[in-house]
Structures are given as C-alpha cells and as structure tokens.
C-alpha cells in the first residue's frame, strides 16, 4: 500500500503537467490578439516554473518518504535549523518571482494603454443581456442569448454553440484598435471573451476601459463572468470580427436600418404588426425576467399576465417601460429601445396571454411621451 501511495501521488504530479500543455480545449486559448498571445505565454511560463518547482519539491518529498521509512529500518537523524539552507530557500523563490514579475509588468502596461483607438464601443451590461453602442456612429443594439429554452430543458437536441449564441453579435473590424467603454445598468457584470484575453467588470454608475486589436477574422464567443443574478449563466457574448471594408459596409447598413426604423415611427401601425414586432422584442428583452408566458418570478419579477394595474393604467404601464423603476431590476428602456420597439412591446404585453385590452400603442405616442 505504501508503494501505491508513492505511485499514486507521483502520478498526480504528472497529471498536473501533461494534459494541460498538450490538448487544446484543456488550456487557455492563445487567442487572436497580440496581447492574448502574450498572456498565454506568461501563463505557460509560470505554469512550467510551477511544474519544475513541483517536481523538485515533491521529488525530495517522495524520495524521503520512500527512503526513510521506519519499516526499512530508517533511524531518525536529529538535525534542525540551518541558516544557509533557510536563506537559500527564501532567496531562490524570491529571485524566481522577480524574474516572473518583470514580463508580467510589461504586459500589464500594454493592457492598460487604451490610447489611439480607432473605434469606441460602449458595452453595457444589463440583467441579462449586453448592449453595444458604437460611439459617434449612431449604431446601437441589444444582444441576448438566442439558444431556445427548450434546448436548456432538454426538449430539443442541443446545438453546436449551445448557450454561446446570440441574436445580434457584436461586430468588430480586424486590425483596428477598438476601445471598449464598459458600464452597467443594474448589477456588476463582467464582459469576457477568452480569445481576446479581455475580461472587465461593468459597474453601475462607473466606467471601465479595455481594448482589443483583433488579428484574425472569425467568430469569437465568451460569457458574463461575474455573478449577476438568476440568468448569469445565460448572457453569452458573440463577436463577429470582419475585414475592415466589410465592417465599414456593415456599419453603413446598420445605420440605414436604424434610420428606416426611425421613419417608421411616424406612420400608423396596425395591431397585428405591433403584436408581431412586440413578441420578438419581448422574447429578446423581457422574457428572461417576466418569463415567456408573462407569469413573472416572484418576488423580484412581477407577473404581467393578468396584472390588474397594468391592464387598468396604460400611462403607468408605458411609464414603467420607458423610465424603469428605481431600486428594482426594471431598467429604463427610453434610450435602449427605439419608439417602435417600445410601442410594440407595450402593445404585446397588453394583449398577450389573456391580457386582452385591445390597445394598440402607436410609436408616435411613444415619441411624444419621450419628448413631452
């Protein structure tokens, strides 16, 4: 049994080293930015330093355990305290640490240099989605998880990118320095894409910075990294990195779409049109708290289906959606949804799941409310 102890434990040490270094999907990704590669190499350096120290330390330990067993007749020596040895084992680790601190400091300095960005993107964490605003470009959108709940419940087969897929991915150009400004509308979230080695908390009321310059076009996925409540596990990040020209074209297209949408606010919308649009908005923005059937989740998230106050008081209902409720999880949607979306989702919640008020809230009325 004692032999097996030795083998078991040395196997343990070995297992710490081998697989981590070999297989991909077991280790930190090298990523697609210069910094992510640098961080990966820092990670591997410190990892191998630990492995070597571990081999030496555990080597001496298991040698001693094997060699100086009483069952083999070992007699205990009685030495203790040796200043030379103690100085060495204090100084050597200190030198190794200094050796490690130097490259780490250099990398950290680069990570903090957000100057000379060519594009600024504001990232806003909300329970439980991300909002991206391209500063100065008039392009902004929300990005929610698009994995159907049926897959989570196991009623449908799970897709390849289960839990890591969104309705509107963040689109970024490659080879341009993109500065992220990060904040939150409610609790603290953390925006993390491993391939960029960017992880930064989004803090309500405060602004954080980070940056990325992507080298390879592609689709990169990440997740919220800071516990932010019930659906913390369901607010993924997808970044679509494009060639620069492709990105510029996309930006123009998005801007035109937004303009068209804004023009749509002037016309009269039919109830069916509003309901169709409202259902989409509800599914993407509201359903995570108020639940797909409007049943809510007590006590934090009130039910909408059969909510008497909502049915009786249209003005209050719209006010809550537009301005939010201070001190609760209900944010103000005045600047994160456009008038058409606000009108549509108000209409949907007033008419779905047996809330048959028949009210069709017109986008023009919402425009009026926003400006009043």
């Amino acid at each position: 049994m004692r032999m097996s102890f030795v083998w078991m434990a040395s196997g343990l040490v070995g297992s710490a080293a081998a697989p981590a270094a070999l297989a991909s999907g077991w280790n930190m990704p090298v990523g697609v930015t210069d910094l992510s590669a640098e961080i990966h190499s820092l990670h591997m350096t410190i990892f191998w330093i630990c492995v070597i120290i571990g081999l030496v330390v555990f080597g001496v330990m298991f040698y001693s355990l094997f060699k100086y067993r009483r069952s083999r007749g070992a007699k205990a020596a009685h030495f203790h305290e040796n200043t030379t040895v103690e100085v060495i084992w204090t100084a050597v680790p200190l030198l190794i640490l200094i050796g490690m601190a130097v490259p780490a400091t250099a990398t950290l300095k680069k990570m903090y240099d957000t100057s000379d960005a060519e594009l600024d993107v504001m990232i806003i964490g909300q329970q439980w989605r991300w909002r991206y605003e391209y500063l100065g470009e008039d392009v902004a959108f929300n990005s929610s998880m698009s994995t159907p709940r049926a897959q989570i419940r196991g009623e449908e087969p799970r897709g390849e990118h289960y839990l890591l897929e969104v309705d509107n991915p963040l689109v970024l150009p490659i080879n341009r320095k993109v500065r992220f400004l990060m904040t939150s509308d409610d609790v603290i979230h953390s925006w993390w894409v491993p391939d960029f080695a960017v992880k930064q908390d989004t803090i309500p009321g405060f602004i954080n910075e980070n940056w990325v310059r992507i080298n390879e076009p592609g689709i990169y996925r990440g997740q919220c990294a800071e516990l932010c409540g019930m659906d913390h596990g369901f607010m993924p990040i997808v970044v679509h990195a494009m060639e620069e020209e492709e990105f510029d074209a996309w930006l123009v297209e998005r801007r035109e779409e937004a303009e068209q949408e804004a023009m749509g606010a002037d016309r009269e919308w039919a109830l069916e049109e509003l309901m169709e649009r409202g259902e989409m908005v509800y599914a993407s923005i509201c359903a995570s708290c108020h639940q797909p059937e409007g049943q809510g989740a007590a006590p934090a998230f009130p039910a909408l289906a059969g909510n008497q106050r909502l049915l009786d008081d249209l003005a209050w209902h719209l006010d809550v959606i537009v301005n939010g409720v201070s001190g609760t999880a209900m944010p103000a949607f005045r600047s994160t949804l456009n008038p058409v979306e606000l009108a549509a989702v108000t209409t949907w919640t007033r008419n779905a799941w047996g809330n048959d008020t028949g009210d069709a809230v017109q986008p023009s009325a919402v425009v009026e409310k926003l400006a009043q």
Binding site: Y112, D113, T114, S115, D116, A117, D120, M122, L135, G136, R179, L181, T183, D185, D186, P204, G205, F206, I207, N208, E209, Q295, G296, A297, A298, P299, A300, F301, P302, A303, G306, N307, Q308, R309, W316, D319, V320, V322, N323, G324, V325, S326, G327, T328, M330, P331, A332, R334, S335, K369, L370, A371, Q372
Partner: protein, 206 residues
C-alpha cells in the same frame, strides 16, 4: 457550570480582554472610516474614475498648443427618472490647459416635478485627477418641474500634466432619481415609490 476549582482571576486575562475589545471597537470604526478615506484616496489617485464633486479653480498654466486631447461626452439614463439629458456636442478636441465650456440640456419628460442627479465618471481613470471641473451640474441635485427644460454648462480644464499616453478622455453622466425630503418631493416621487412597491407586491401575490 460554576466551578469552584476555577483558578483565581488572572489580572493578565483582564488586561488582554480590555485590549482586545479596544482593538475590536477600533477596527469596527476603521471599517466605517474607510468609506470617506476611500473616497479621498480615489479622488487623489483617480481610482475608479471618481472625480472631485466640488468646484475647482482654474489654473492659469498656459495652453499646451502642441497637443490635442479628444474629450467625449456620454449621457445615460438610470432607472426611475423620466428625464432626458442631452449634450450639445458628443466629442471635441481641446488642448491641455485650455478652459472649455460645454452645454448640457436637462429635460423632464414627465408630467410632474422631480429631483434628479447626474452621477459622473471619467475614463481612463488616470486622467481623472488631471481633470478640473470649474463648474458642473454634477456637483448638485437638480429639480425640474413637469416638462421643464434646463440648460446647464460644464466648464472644465485638462491639466497640462495630463499623462502623455492619454489622448482621449471620456466623461460619462448617468441620471439617477433623488429621493428628497418629503415637502419637496411630495407628489410624484411618492407615487414613484408606490409604483415600485406595487410592482414587487404584485409579484409576491402572483
């Protein structure tokens, strides 16, 4: 159990206990003292993009014409305040040392008077200690009557010793409602609270 065999009270124990309790009280007070200390520390070092919440004097140190810094302004809405906050320009280029005024417009889009506050944050954090705000609406809470529109200036100066690597400074203002004393807030703010209360009660009953 009361034990007759307990050793006689040890004066050392008494001393130790008194000292420990004093240390405890001290540490508890220290935790609360950390709140203002942290504020001061943040302002001095610029951690967290915190800025001074009182007006600072302009320093006449001459304008550094050799250098441009881009200043961005972002306004945001927190929950529960039916206001719009607009800035006349979203971005401008200034020289360090130059004093600049930017107009902000507050508008109450609701039918009642309310109190609100614009909470400031500056990024990058190492720029915040080089930002002098001579006059800012963010120093105090605002009151707007129903539908009222109020234009307020931000007058600021970037110090000449702004670190050379900083060439963009972002100022963010987030609007939050303020619960003022009952006389001033009476009508609407109370209703707002009721609305919040109702919202959660309904959930509880559902």
């Amino acid at each position: 159990m009361t034990d007759a065999r307990r050793p006689p009270p040890n004066p050392g124990v008494r001393r130790t206990v008194i000292r420990s309790v004093a240390a405890l009280v001290g540490m508890f007070a220290f935790a609360f003292a950390l709140v203002p200390l942290y504020d001061v520390f943040c302002r001095v070092t610029g951690i967290n993009g915190k800025v001074d919440t009182t007006a600072q004097a302009i320093v006449h140190e001459g304008v550094d014409d050799s250098r441009y810094v881009t200043v961005q302004f972002i306004t945001r809405n927190g929950a529960g305040l039916p206001w719009n906050l607009e800035v006349e320009t979203r971005q401008l280029r200034v020289h360090p040392g130059q004093t600049t005024e930017v107009g902000f417009a507050f508008q109450n889009a609701s039918g009642e008077g309310t109190w609100g506050r614009a909470v400031p944050s500056v990024s990058p954090s190492n720029a915040s200690r080089h930002l002098r705000k001579v006059s800012c609406f963010c120093f105090e809470e605002q009151h707007l009557e129903a539908g009222e529109r109020l234009e307020l200036p931000l007058v600021f100066q970037l110090a000449r010793d702004l670190p050379p690597e900083v060439n963009t400074v972002t100022l963010v203002y987030t609007l939050y409602p303020v619960e003022r004393d009952p006389v001033e807030r009476d009508g609407k703010a109370q209703q707002g609270r009721v609305a919040g209360g109702v919202a959660s009660n309904e959930g509880g009953e559902a």
